[in-house]
């Protein structure tokens, strides 16, 4: 059976005055996957997500959600965690969740049951009758996760979900995302933090300056970049390495280096040139990290821009 697309975005554009926030963007997300929408700050990720949510209307293009044209009714089948998020501070936790669940079209009885079970799962049961403003930041974040998934949406859209989370809540959110995927739901999230994407995404779309610059299956994208990246874990002064003629790009983190070799260069030639000069703890030949691809793609554009301006 062919999988349905949970989301189809076709040639959407949005401009605010002379400024293009999103330009001719196209991507498809198949059901039951986790999709990463990547890009530097200001690339147009949030605008794209708001258009998918029908909060902003695109100037051009077409959006289909769960095989139907996006409209107000579809909002009930989507769970959305915006980048700027907060609650009515004076409302009680239980009242707030009930209000949000009702807005998603849930019946009161069903909503109450779900609220209790989610609050219990996140150790917030005792806080049900407390005002939202009395909760700690971490608790409010948990509340936001609950509000996003309480109505069992088929599509979950998370805008910068990991920003500001502590490691405990980061893990909690990651677990929810994987759980949703296991249940056959689709998750889209935007971020500029590549480690998380590498860990959980099936497919990605990289946007920069309103336009798509990379899209597809994450492992295939990485494969395209070939196996000529070297991860070097070292001690000592590794400055001299960047002057080697074989090197295309290099990201030095002080104890750790990601080296991208020029095409046709065998990584093996590198090893003898550094042995003895610094202490090598690890020398690994692999695909580039998404971080390196991101910096290369986004950085290259910036350089080209500099020339053309």
């Amino acid at each position: 059976m062919v999988k349905m697309n949970a989301l189809e975005v076709e040639n959407i554009s949005k401009s605010f005055g002379d400024f293009y926030a999103v330009k001719n963007l196209t991507f498809n997300i198949s059901e039951g996957t986790i999709y990463g929408l990547l890009g530097p700050n200001g690339a147009g990720k949030t605008t794209t997500i708001r258009m998918v949510m029908n909060i902003i209307i695109p100037d051009e293009g077409r959006i289909k959600v769960l095989d139907r044209k996006m409209d107000e009714e579809m909002k009930e089948r989507i769970g959305y965690l915006p980048e700027d998020r907060g609650f009515y501070p004076k409302m009680k936790v239980g009242e707030l969740l009930l209000f949000l669940a009702e807005l998603k079209g849930m019946a009161k009885l069903d909503a109450r049951k779900k609220i209790n079970s989610w609050l219990g799962r996140f150790d917030l049961a005792d806080w049900k009758d407390k005002k939202v403003e009395e909760l700690s930041r971490g608790m409010q974040q948990k509340l936001q996760f609950i509000a996003t998934v309480i109505h069992q949406p088929e599509l979950i859209i998370l805008d910068e979900p990991f920003s500001g989370l502590d490691p405990v809540n980061t893990k909690l959110l990651k677990d929810i995302m994987l759980e949703m995927k296991a249940e056959g739901r689709t998750v889209i999230f935007s971020t500029h933090r590549m480690e998380q994407v590498e860990m959980i995404c099936d497919n990605i779309c990289l946007i920069n300056k309103a336009e798509r610059i990379l899209e597809g299956d994450l492992s295939q994208i990485k494969k395209q970049y070939g196996k000529n990246t070297v991860i070097l874990d070292y001690e000592g002064d590794g400055c001299f390495i960047k002057d080697f003629p074989e090197i295309d790009r290099l990201d030095d983190y002080g104890k750790f280096m990601e080296i991208r070799l020029k095409e046709e260069i065998d990584p093996q030639v590198l090893l003898p040139k550094i042995v003895g000069k610094i202490r090598v703890n690890k020398f690994e030949v692999r695909e580039p990290t998404l971080n390196a691809i991101f910096i290369e793609k986004v950085g290259a554009r910036d350089e080209k821009d500099m020339v053309s301006h």
Partner: protein, 424 residues
């Protein structure tokens, strides 16, 4: 519609449950009552003070009569005015200087200088530190006037016994004619018009501010986008405005119950405590005035409510909103400044035109209806114009709200707002 209902319910319950609402609802009528009844009670109860007034009578024939006639009494039965005669001196300038000092040192409250030719010329001088107590001035002026006229008539050789009858003042009783017939009106119409218009004015301000504060709160707490993931911006705005309207109705209903029981029982209460108040008459108010009051409250509420909602969506804090509120405040204050004018000439062209301007209509048309029911076509016209304006405002502010509510940072310029309205 179900979603708007959820928003209405939330807005309503969130406000009605606050201490501020409960206190405001109870304190409102208490305050209103205080504003109306305290000056009245003060005037009924207060005894007042005796005043010492010096008199320089250059004619030598007025003081005695004036002293006899200026016999206004205080509540405790003592004379209100105590006159002291000062004989005219050769150097009038020095005498006046002396009297001025007495006034400044408070050994006299005032003095009256009656020149020698007053009977022919008819001008006397009243000198005091403050000359704005109109009742006092009228007392003195009228008494002096009648004393001098009497003198003039005596000079003409009229029978002194008949003079009092000749110069008797003519009274003027004010009677309001309505379709039901004649009714004596001792200023009650004015009082009712004034109270209703003030209530309307204050509540429009008050509920408008609540709407605006709510929008700003949604914006600054960043909850708005979560809510918008379930409904349209317009539904959120409509739900908020309707929910707060429901709060307004709750408050009005409570006040109306207070008000009706107060008018029923308060008079007998007041009279039993202060028998002197039995002359006070509560004016009867035709019920159509209350119907129009509700109509114009609803219309005014939606007109200004949308305005306030749009302003809330444009700014990031109440402080920032102050500047943008200026035109709204002007629209509300101008008709209040025109109250006296409209009461005096409710059917003048100027008043008619003003009461048709939509932003002034709720207050001024209601005022005109209270004072003198205007032709039906004018009332219907102003309601029609208001409805049209409201629809236009809802359309316009809906567009501003939709964009503004998601914009953080700098307050938008006028050009930017025009751009927002044009967005798809």
């Amino acid at each position: 519609m179900k979603k708007i209902w959820s928003v209405i319910k939330r807005e309503y319950l969130q406000i009605v449950k606050t201490k501020g609402f409960i206190i405001g609802t109870i304190l409102g009528p208490v305050l209103m009552g205080a504003i109306i009844f305290v000056p009245f009670l003060v005037s009924v109860v207060s005894v007042g003070e005796q005043e010492r007034i010096g008199v320089v009578d250059e004619t030598h024939e007025i003081f005695e009569a004036l002293d006899k006639k200026l016999d206004h009494k205080l509540k405790d039965g003592n004379r209100r005015y105590i006159l002291e005669e000062y004989k005219p001196a050769a150097d009038m300038e020095a005498l006046r200087q002396d009297l001025n000092q007495k006034v400044l040192h408070k050994s006299l409250n005032a003095y009256l200088h009656i020149p020698g030719n007053v009977i022919e010329d008819g001008t006397a001088e009243y000198v005091s530190e403050h000359v704005s107590d109109f009742t006092k001035l009228r007392n003195i002026n009228e008494t002096l006037n009648s004393v001098i006229i009497e003198k003039r008539l005596r000079r003409e050789g009229l029978d002194p016994r008949k003079i009092a009858q000749y110069i008797k003042r003519v009274g003027l009783k004010t009677i309001k004619v309505t379709k039901k017939g004649e009714e004596e009106d001792t200023g009650g119409t004015f009082l009712i018009a004034y109270i209703l218009v003030l209530i309307l004015y204050m509540t429009l301000f008050f509920y408008g501010a609540i709407i605006m504060r709510g929008v700003i709160e949604e914006k600054t707490s960043r909850v708005v986008e979560i809510v918008l993931s379930s409904l349209r911006p317009f539904q959120l705005m409509a739900g908020k405005i309707l929910g707060i309207a429901a709060v307004g109705f709750t408050q009005y209903t409570i006040w109306a119950i207070f008000g009706f029981s107060a008018t029923r029982y308060s008079k007998s209460l007041i009279v039993s405590i202060f028998p002197g108040a039995s002359g006070f008459k509560l004016p009867s108010v035709p019920p159509y005035i209350f119907v129009y009051f509700v109509v114009f409250f609803i219309l005014g509420y939606f007109l200004y409510g949308t305005f306030y909602a749009a302003i809330g969506s444009m700014v990031n804090s109440e402080k920032e909103a102050q500047q943008l509120l200026f035109p709204v405040t002007m629209f509300l204050v101008v008709p209040i400044l025109l109250i006296m004018f409209v009461i005096r000439a409710p059917n003048s062209t100027f008043a008619v035109v003003l009461s048709l301007i939509p932003f002034f209509a709720p207050i001024l048309m209601l005022l005109r209806i209270c004072v003198l029911l205007p032709p039906f076509i004018q009332v219907a016209g102003s309601i029609g114009i208001l409805l049209l304006t409201i629809f236009l405002m809802i359309w316009l502010t809906g567009k501003i709200y939709r964009v503004g509510i998601l914009m953080y940072g700098k307050r938008p310029s006028f050009q930017e707002i025009v751009k927002w309205i044009r967005y798809k």
